[in-house]
């Protein structure tokens, strides 16, 4: 059974998701693993959208950091050539109107129909949702990145989500450190094992039904 450091695992997943992106496209990156995906994108015609008001996000050098130029995670970013700024309703009009090609999001749980929970935990106050629900209903494709299991080893791919769902819409693909799944007709389909992983290991760590 393979073990990774948390960072290695996150980069492994991010790199695999990046390989799935084909330009020309517009991608919105969530907080966490999704943010790392930017490091592995090489196509010139993949543009990043951040919902706080910028299309055309790039890295920024330490020396060029501008405190008024940040992404949705409030981290400093730079502007790509051809970028544009806009207000929050115009930004979410892009998202909700179906004009963003791919949203890459983290998740707490995914059920076996591809529905995800990623904004609230039962028993805790429901304090923040941000743009998660908007991205789920609006992006043409939604890719989920997450560790396959919780800290206690339990599966995050479940028969049913026990946390509040973010949308009734099924995501399109799920990327973990063990495998890549597509959601086909509201069913999880294992389409790829990550390097060194066996189908048995995935089966052992997955509560959700899936086909392969």
């Amino acid at each position: 059974m393979t073990t990774w450091s948390k960072t290695d695992m996150q980069h492994l997943i991010a790199k695999r998701v990046a390989a799935e992106l084909e330009g020309p496209c517009v991608v919105n990156l969530g907080i966490g693993i999704p943010t790392l995906v930017a490091e592995y994108m090489d196509a010139e015609d993949i543009y990043m959208h951040t919902e706080n008001g910028l299309l055309g996000v790039t890295d920024v050098e330490e020396a060029d950091i501008d405190p008024n130029l940040v992404n949705a995670g409030k981290l400093p970013v730079g502007e790509a050539i051809g970028s544009s700024f806009f207000n929050s309703s115009d930004s979410f009009a892009m998202i909700r109107g179906g004009h963003v090609d791919v949203a890459i999001l983290g998740a707490l749980q995914v059920d076996q129909t591809g529905v995800i929970a990623n904004w609230a935990v039962p028993g805790k106050n429901i304090m923040g949702v941000g743009g998660a629900m908007d991205l789920l209903v609006g992006a043409k494709k939604v890719f989920v990145t997450m560790s396959h299991t919780s800290k206690d080893g339990s599966s995050k791919l479940l028969k049913e989500c026990t946390y509040p769902i973010t949308s009734t819409r099924s995501v399109d693909m799920i990327f973990t450190e063990l495998a890549v799944f597509e959601v086909v007709n509201k069913q999880l389909k294992l389409v790829e094992l990550m390097p060194g992983i066996t189908i048995e290991e995935v089966q052992a760590k997955t509560e959700a039904d899936f086909i392969h």
Binding site: T50, E51, N52, G53, L54, I65, D66, P67, N68, L69, V70, K74, E79, F85, F86, N87, S88, S89, S91, F92, A93, I95, R96, A120, N125, I126, M127, G128, V129, G130, G131, A132, M133, D134, V137, G138, P164, I165, T166, S167, T168
Partner: protein
């Protein structure tokens, strides 16, 4: 006719206890830091604050929160200030959580005189509870009401003395929307210029939305918020 006022408390004279106040910004980025500080120094209570966040613990709107001046918060991401959860737990504050796109769209609808609108965002989730659901052309939507307020406190980059505004990078965010949705709109800016200095094609907020302009006294820098 200049809308520029030099004293912050004069600018905030229209704010009264019980008011609903829109406060611009995404975290501290684009937040009207000087006006928020002015509000913490003003004797008002029972406020409803509409803002993406309620500041951070002990910073910005977080100070107002700790002063128990906020009766209700309407926003999308209160998680950025742990004090909000504590107060909510104790029943000391009401909260209305909205998806960020819904918060933005409801403000725009308020400014545009609409009653509300149907969105797919939130359908089938806990945030749709109690909201009307309707199928339109085979798609399920929920109804969201427009948001309007007594006062808006916003931040822009430049204002001309008439009140035309332009913004700076991602500090734009909710500010132009909030400028449209309140009876009184007070803006703090980095720079005040003469009418004609801003290109008519580039003005984001036309002057008819703006009542009062002040020169920002607090600025967000790499090193944090500093007095100018």
């Amino acid at each position: 006719m200049s809308k520029v006022i030099s004293d912050i408390q004069d600018a905030l004279a229209c704010v009264e206890s019980g008011h609903t106040i829109l406060v611009g910004g995404f975290g501290l980025v684009g937040a009207p830091l000087s006006l928020i500080e002015g509000l913490t120094e003003k004797d008002v209570t029972n406020l409803t604050i509409v803002s993406n966040n309620l500041g951070e613990s002990g910073k910005g709107l977080g100070i107002l929160l700790n002063q128990n001046k906020i009766k209700k918060g309407i926003g999308s991401y209160f998680t950025s200030n742990r004090d909000v959860g504590d107060k909510y737990q104790k029943g000391e504050i009401e909260l209305e959580l909205l998806p960020q796109g819904t918060l933005a769209e409801s403000l725009r609808a308020g400014g545009a005189g609409l009653g509300g609108y149907y969105t797919t965002t939130g359908v089938g989730t806990d945030l749709a509870k109690g909201k009307e659901e309707r199928e339109i052309d085979g798609v399920n939507y929920i109804f969201e009401k427009a948001i309007r307020a007594d006062v808006a406190l916003i931040r822009a980059h430049k204002a001309d003395t008439l009140g035309n505004l332009v913004y700076y990078k991602t500090a734009r965010n909710f500010n132009p929307l909030m400028a449209t949705a309140a009876k009184k709109v007070i803006v703090e800016v980095d720079e005040i210029v003469e009418p004609g200095a801003l290109n008519p094609e580039e003005i984001v907020t036309p002057f008819l939305y703006v009542d009062t302009i002040i020169q920002a006294q607090q600025v967000l820098t790499k090193e944090g918020v500093v007095n100018k």
